[in-house]
Symmetry: C2
Subunit: 243 residues, 2 copies
């Protein structure tokens, strides 16, 4: 008897944007695992807190980094690989002992989620199911009252970690774009949007669907402040207006 691994998306931040399926599976899990930044309780755990059974084991996986390194950086690759191996090992111990485990993930697990790195390591050995969630971008464009893609619009989702020229080239293709992983990449992203002639259409949003939510045109965001928070995003909507 081996346990089942459920990888569960908890949505963009508002605890009410969890799905009914996620709430059920989290509530039934005897082990609930989640990632957390150094010194934090864990964002996904916070979103799902009310559904976690009080007697369930909680496994907190603390990231070895506090800032966003490029995935091309060799230090990042080596350290993060060891970290994911260790996390997968801890889950495998529980699953091997017949314990059902739920691994929580912000947004939707298979859309830029760290949970995929554990899934890749465990999928061959254990029964599993993936519970999709509402993405951060859906939460953000809904909060911003911003109809995003109509009809034949193409959507591009661009990590802010891309080089400036690559970002600008992609943005020049037009239609709708979402730029994720903003943080310290904001000045570069702003320059790429300007170069592509899209700065005037870009909306900046931080803490979308959460307390502290802030939505404004990117062009009117103060340049001189600290880095944008990790939970920030830039939205360039597709064609607007009724037809």
């Amino acid at each position: 008897m081996r346990g089942t691994l459920s990888i569960v998306g908890v949505g963009p931040g508002d605890p009410e944007l969890l799905t009914i399926k996620a709430a059920r599976i989290i509530g039934a899990a005897r082990c609930v695992a989640f990632f957390a930044k150094r010194g934090r309780l864990g964002h996904a755990r916070g979103i799902a807190a009310q559904w976690i059974d009080a007697s369930a084991e909680q496994l907190r996986f603390e990231y070895p980094f506090t800032t966003e390194l490029s995935v091309a950086d060799p230090r990042y690759l080596a350290d993060i690989g060891r970290f994911y191996e260790r996390c997968a090992g801890l889950l495998a111990e529980r699953l091997g002992a017949g314990i059902d485990a739920a691994l929580l993930c912000e947004g939707d697990p298979f859309f830029y989620g760290s949970a995929m790195y554990l899934f890749d390591r465990l999928r061959g050995a254990f029964a599993h199911r993936i519970v999709p969630g509402v993405t951060g971008m859906s939460g953000c464009w809904s909060s911003a009252d911003l109809p995003f893609t109509h009809g034949d619009d193409v959507l591009q989702v661009l990590p802010g970690t891309l080089e400036r020229d690559a970002l600008a080239a992609r943005l020049r293709l037009g239609d709708a774009a979402v730029i994720m992983k903003v943080g310290g990449n904001l000045p570069k992203i702003r320059a790429a949007l300007d170069e592509a002639g899209q700065l005037g259409r870009a909306i900046y949003i931080e803490h979308g669907t959460m307390s502290g939510e802030r939505i404004l045109p990117l062009a009117s965001l103060d340049h001189s402040g600290p880095d944008a928070p990790y939970f920030s995003m830039i939205l360039v909507p597709g064609r607007q207006g009724p037809r």
Copy 2:
């Protein structure tokens, strides 16, 4: 006293993939509106059925078309515009009389949802809120056990209604792609994928998260059958495998 318009995403098809917020708002609405194809009950209504109060008015908006026309087609533009005007008028009557209305939408409302056309017409006159939902694509890549975008991957969402050359040019940019609105566009989409050297990586999925779900490599899908159903999608995942 005017009513509030809630535009509510009901997710990809599995009724358990509705959010807790959607269930609450649908249950409280005195009027529940939804789109339906000719001769069908309405797919979004079917997903949300268990949450609709038995005494609520149900407004069924039947599309004037049964097939997908290009949004560039002048017949489409004229007829669909009149249809959306009529639907918006019916909702405005309820909202103007102080009745709270929920407009249901498959997937996520602001992501290729028809509900946007009513939102565009009503947003200036009535209080509103948008409840994001799990997209069809998230449901599909989760069902297909297909981690989709990692790290610096770019995601492109491409309507299958695009011309073959435009599709192939976009697909040649690489990384992850989702092709929506497959239906009768399947032969063209297959040709574009082949031209871009991506046919071997493409996964075909129909009725994702629903009964009748079917997932297979696009290259092994029978060419000679009828058109792909409306609820079908093609997924080209980003980089795969553990790091």
